[in-house]
């Protein structure tokens, strides 16, 4: 049995793996289609907390990729689901974009009318923020709101080059309030992993994560003992992989190669425990 036949669950990172900027990675749509035709379960994962699952699903559909909202595990959704399931009636204040608010509402999380009445501050990337947005978030926390962040990435590849990401927004609030984020839901956290595994419905040993980030995708695979494949279509080079403490099971130029690569790999059957 080859490795491909052993795997049933494919967790696929989106940003840098399926798309880059506004463009779909060449062959990504075809690959996802083939995986599904082969009977694999495919979920899209992303740390980006700026969009709702509906919004991302719609964008993918426009580019020939069929991943319904329920097959997308976005940090916006994981944050919303966490709050909705454990802190049902606690109002939140949002330092983030419209898509995050949409996802929170979709999951029934009540949005506060004033920062001072919020029990939680939800922080994500906010590319349209102004001083008052920072100040409202600050006021929510100084009045007792706990902090939940979609992720803590420092940078993302923006239209004008590498740009300040959630770590900046979070840093502003932490440094001025002395508070620290209680929860960060994005990869490689167990919040993201657990939600993905619940949805994917197969065993960890039958599951692989494919992504472009050593510190979120490959790290999550290592932490939770699932297979890992690194693509070089994002921000990671082969050299960075050599220097990193995180080692993917294999490296490929693009997600396009994943099926062929795995078919050429010997199966782990009987599955060995990972180091």
């Amino acid at each position: 049995m080859n490795r491909y036949d052993e795997l049933h669950g494919f967790l696929i990172d989106l940003d840098g793996t399926v798309w880059k900027g506004a463009h779909i990675v060449a062959g990504a749509a075809e690959t996802i289609r083939t995986l599904k035709e082969d009977g694999k379960r495919v979920l899209g994962l992303s740390n980006r907390g700026t969009h709702s699952r509906k919004g991302i699903s719609h964008f993918l559909k426009e580019h020939g990729i069929d991943l319904p909202p329920e097959d997308l595990i976005l940090s916006s959704y994981v944050a919303a689901d966490f709050l909705a399931s454990r802190y049902k009636k606690q109002k939140v204040w949002v330092l983030g974009e419209e898509g995050l608010v949409e996802e929170l509402k979709e999951n029934g999380v009540p949005i506060a009318d004033h920062p001072k009445e919020a029990k939680w501050l939800v922080v994500s990337l906010h590319t349209k923020l102004g001083y008052e947005d920072l100040n409202h978030a600050f006021q929510a926390v100084t009045h007792g709101a706990r902090i939940i962040a979609t992720n803590k990435d420092k940078t993302y590849p923006g239209p004008s080059g590498l740009s300040i990401d959630v770590a900046g927004m979070l840093g502003a609030i932490e440094a001025s309030t002395g508070a620290r984020a209680d929860i960060i839901v994005g990869k490689p956290s167990h919040y993201m992993f657990d939600k993905a595994m619940l949805k994917i419905g197969c065993e960890a040993r039958e599951t692989i994560i494919i992504g472009d980030s050593l510190t979120s995708d490959i790290a999550m695979g290592e932490l939770f003992s699932i297979s890992t494949g690194l693509v070089l279509t994002g921000n990671t080079t082969l050299k960075m992989t050599e220097d990193s403490i995180y080692k993917p099971d294999f490296v490929m130029d693009s997600i396009r190669d994943v099926r062929q690569k795995l078919q050429l790999m010997k199966g782990l059957n009987p599955l060995k425990p990972r180091k």
Copy 2:
């Protein structure tokens, strides 16, 4: 000889001591006038890096207080003077307000046209910032600019209550870049103190600082062994003074009382070293 007669230099904090919000503290104008008539040297000190000395001098003049720009030691000015005197030709990028840019230009500090060409990022409170302002500052630092901050106050009393201050702006840049501020010029730093002592032209033992902040005004007095008087017109209560590691030499309700208080105090002559 009483304590008042021994003192020749008065360093007077502005925000919370001379004014509060948009209002001059009752009696502040008269007190400053009397001190000057008695032959004392009076300087105004402030950690606020949002305004130029000209702007503040103009504002004070409108309210009957005569402190020319050269008798104002603002963190905007101390930052500008530091850069102009030690890094003459190094271009800077500014994350801050118009008054800071004005003060930098006034002192001949060259402003960069693009974040990437800046050798320094000057950070201060910026109540009109947008995401792109944060992002430009981030890009300056990721391209090698060092960080100089006017101060690192976490909060200031804004029009809508306690508001996020420089620590927030600085925290955003530090958390996203991994860099740390090289220099923070505001009280209680020696940058501020040295500049004030150069201007005031008398000995430390003949100098007093009067202010409303334990951690900037009273701390600076303790660090550099000058006399200290705390006013209760700002953010500090008598209770906070009891709990603080910083102990002023004396406490008064308002700057209005400073002359009378000091006249009732025994002189230190011959001046003893401070503990």
